[in-house]
Amino acid sequence: MQVRDLSMAGAWGDSVDVLKAIEPSLVNCITCGGCAAACAASANVSVAKAILLLRRGLLADARAALEGCLFCGKCRFVCPMGVNTRGVIAALTFSPDSSGNILHQ
């Protein structure tokens, strides 16, 4: 799938560059909100919202938008753009990346 890069390069700040390196499919998000509609955890959890907040450079808020996530992967099931949502959530919240960067500390 050929996807337009919606990343607005440079506008995201350092943390987003790190995140993009871990999970490149992040830039595919069109913030349609399908993930939030399918979410099993709560009405407040939204990967689309988290990515939108990231684009504004609000890392802490992005993290808060994922609080309570059950990691079940329903969002990945429905994502029309093939974003690896579980990869985004893990990188943003509880998993260290391969280069040892831990964004949540």
């Binding site: 955890a41 079940c72 329903k74 429905v78 990869g87 893990a90 509880f94 998993s95 260290p96």
Partner: protein, 613 residues
């Protein structure tokens, strides 16, 4: 009788005693790491039948390597000949020195360098038999060494597609090991050339070398060879505790403690050292098509030396293939999860308000949970609804609000505490439902509900439920001429041992093809919840590989029993991919067309109501 000594025994003695010291230290550290319950359990079983059973298993796996024979007879022979041959050299050597000296306790080097101290034809009770047995054991080991050399060049000749890559302590130890027995043969042969003696093997080598006997004696070649033998043997013992050869003692200790009832958690440090890095797990790894190097053998090695990276811990689909292949029976999935758990930061799961279960609706004894993706897999969910109705089963659907998760995704990502919170909440909801049977369409949920929850109700995967219904005649199915192949989902097959039920149901309806990649050898579809770092391209590569292996020109439909597998395989399959419930519905005789009544909202109880009540 005074014990003979020569300076060349020193390298051997240093290696041997440093190894013994380290082994004692390691075993003490393992023991101290056990919980008090485990210690009590182990002590209470020392003088019991469990110890005997452990000894039998030690012979079967530590010496005969029966599990490796199952993988490949030639590979099994290689491991068996090395272990059994060396063991016989030690045992026969012990009795040989006992018969010669009459002492039970001799210098530790005496049996090893016996022919150096007492060359030529030395006669004592049974001396000819001992020499023959020693040569036979040496020949057995040498045949294994020859195969090991050959395996490095051509792994496929011994039934392996890939051989494990090794790090330097392993390479050093391996080099010493490769030379120990050929050098022993030359030392004994050289000595026999000068002094005579030796049985069919060493004697023959001696006879071949005898024309140069004067030269060998003048240059003291036999002495130099015995020095060489001592150095390679001592070198191997010196490296053993630091290399993969630590598996020799560790596996024996592991077998013993397993039989003594020590908990798997306490055994983990021993398991890390009991891996022989044989590499049998590599060929089964689902990540191979994407060129990953995080196979269990490499993960366990890194965990043992304490440098697990996040990539090593997380780039794994947790499909369980390595665990089912491991000849030592290591719990490789748990070891990987331990790495994930240690690396993860805390993650709290909020109480999920939307999780719900219907209470006693329609007198429902059966609760159906399609899995969290139930609403996203309407074909499977509606097929199951119709089948349940056709079978006359009154059921209620769990999770009508789409807000439930079994907890396994969190568990697999290393968030054990968050998963436990989920388990507790769901258990509470299920207890309130007054259900007696829980049927789920998702193998991930099935594994979690059946193995990690302590539920007072029967948990079934829908393949098991279908088998029961079709077997009882409550669902009548017809046989069509369709040709199908079944893909075993990882969590259902290797995870829960459910192989026969889906095959039983399918073979009543269609012509079921068999495949070389079925049952325990099933290939992961790549969509597993265990590996969340997998990119789409990699996922498709793995799925394509699985489909290529399963589907042939005759196959009309690929059947599976997992929503993840269905979605992932359908993306790349040239034939239709269906769930077993859909296939059953298609073959159902007297399909009912009754409208299925919807549950009423008021019958749902939520977490908040439970807590409030």
């Amino acid at each position: 009788m005074t014990q003979p000594f020569d300076w060349f025994v020193i390298p051997f003695a240093i290696g041997f005693w440093s190894m013994m010291l380290l082994l004692v230290v390691k075993i003490c550290r393992w023991w101290l790491g056990f919980s008090s319950v485990d210690k009590k359990m182990a002590l209470s079983r020392i003088f019991s039948v469990h110890t005997l059973r452990a000894l039998v298993e030690m012979v079967r796996e530590g010496l005969l390597h029966r599990n490796i024979f199952r993988v490949s007879p030639r590979l099994g022979y290689m491991h068996m000949s090395l272990a059994m041959g060396w063991f016989l050299l030690i045992v026969v050597g012990k009795f040989q020195t006992l018969a010669f000296t009459g002492n039970h306790v001799n210098a530790v080097w005496l049996p090893i360098f016996f022919k150096s101290f007492y060359p030529g034809d030395v006669h004592f009770a049974g001396s000819v038999v001992y020499e023959f047995l020693m040569d036979a054991a040496l020949l057995l080991v040498l045949s294994g060494v020859a195969l090991a050399w050959y395996k490095r060049v051509a792994p496929s000749a011994l039934g392996m597609r890939k051989s494990a890559r090794h790090i330097w302590p392993d390479r050093v130890a391996l080099t010493f090991l490769w030379f120990v027995f050929p050098v022993r043969l030359l030392s004994e042969g050289g000595t026999a050339a000068i002094h005579g003696g030796g049985s069919f093997l060493t004697g023959t080598v001696g006879a071949v070398l005898s024309p140069w006997a004067d030269l060998l004696a003048a240059w003291q070649v036999d002495g130099a060879l015995w020095w060489g033998y001592s150095i390679v043997l001592g070198g191997f013992f010196l490296m053993l505790p630091w290399s993969r050869y630590m598996h020799i003692p560790a596996e024996l200790v592991l077998i013993l403690f397993r039989h003594w009832g020590v908990s798997p958690q306490s055994l983990q440090p021993i398991e890390l050292e009991a891996c022989s890095r044989c590499g049998i797990c590599i060929d089964g790894c689902a990540m191979l098509p994407v060129g990953n190097d995080g196979q269990a053998v490499y993960y366990v090695r890194d965990a043992r030396y304490g440098y697990v990276t996040a990539a090593k811990a997380h780039d794994c689909l947790m499909c369980g293939s390595c665990e089912s292949r491991c000849p030592v029976g290591l719990r490789l999935g748990s070891l990987r999860l331990e790495g994930r758990r240690k690396g993860a930061s805390d993650w709290a799961v909020n109480p999920v308000e939307s999780a719900s279960v219907a209470v006693g609706a329609n007198g429902g004894r059966v609760v159906y949970f399609p899995g969290c993706v139930g609403a996203l897999t309407p074909a499977v969910t509606s097929a199951m609804r119709r089948l349940m109705q056709a079978a006359g089963v009154s059921f209620v659907e769990m999770d009508a609000n789409n807000g439930m998760c079994c907890g396994r995704p969190l568990f697999l990502s290393g968030q054990a505490d968050a998963a436990r919170a989920q388990v507790a909440q769901n258990s509470q909801l299920l207890a309130a439902s007054e259900a007696q049977v829980l049927v789920t369409s998702c193998p991930v949920c099935y594994k979690m509900f059946s193995q990690y929850y302590q539920l007072p109700i029967t948990v079934m995967h829908h393949t098991q439920w279908l088998k029961q219904m079709v077997g009882d005649g409550r669902l009548q199915v017809s046989h069509s001429d369709a040709v199908m192949v079944y893909h075993d989902p990882c969590e259902l097959g290797r995870g829960c041992g459910v192989y026969d039920e889906p095959r039983d149901v399918l073979s009543r309806m269609v012509t079921l093809q068999s495949s070389s990649d079925q049952r325990q050898a099933s290939l992961c579809c790549g969509g597993s919840l265990g590996g969340y770092r997998m990119k789409d391209a990699g996922r498709q590569q793995i799925a394509s590989h699985a489909v290529d292996r399963l589907v042939d020109a005759r196959t009309q439909t690929l059947v599976t029993a997992c929503p993840m597998c269905k979605k992932t395989l359908a993306a790349v399959s040239p034939v239709k991919v269906k769930d077993i419930a859909e296939v059953t519905l298609e073959h159902l005789v007297l399909l009912p067309f009754k409208k299925i009544p919807h549950q009423e909202k008021s019958l749902l109880v939520t977490k908040q109501e439970l807590v409030g009540a």
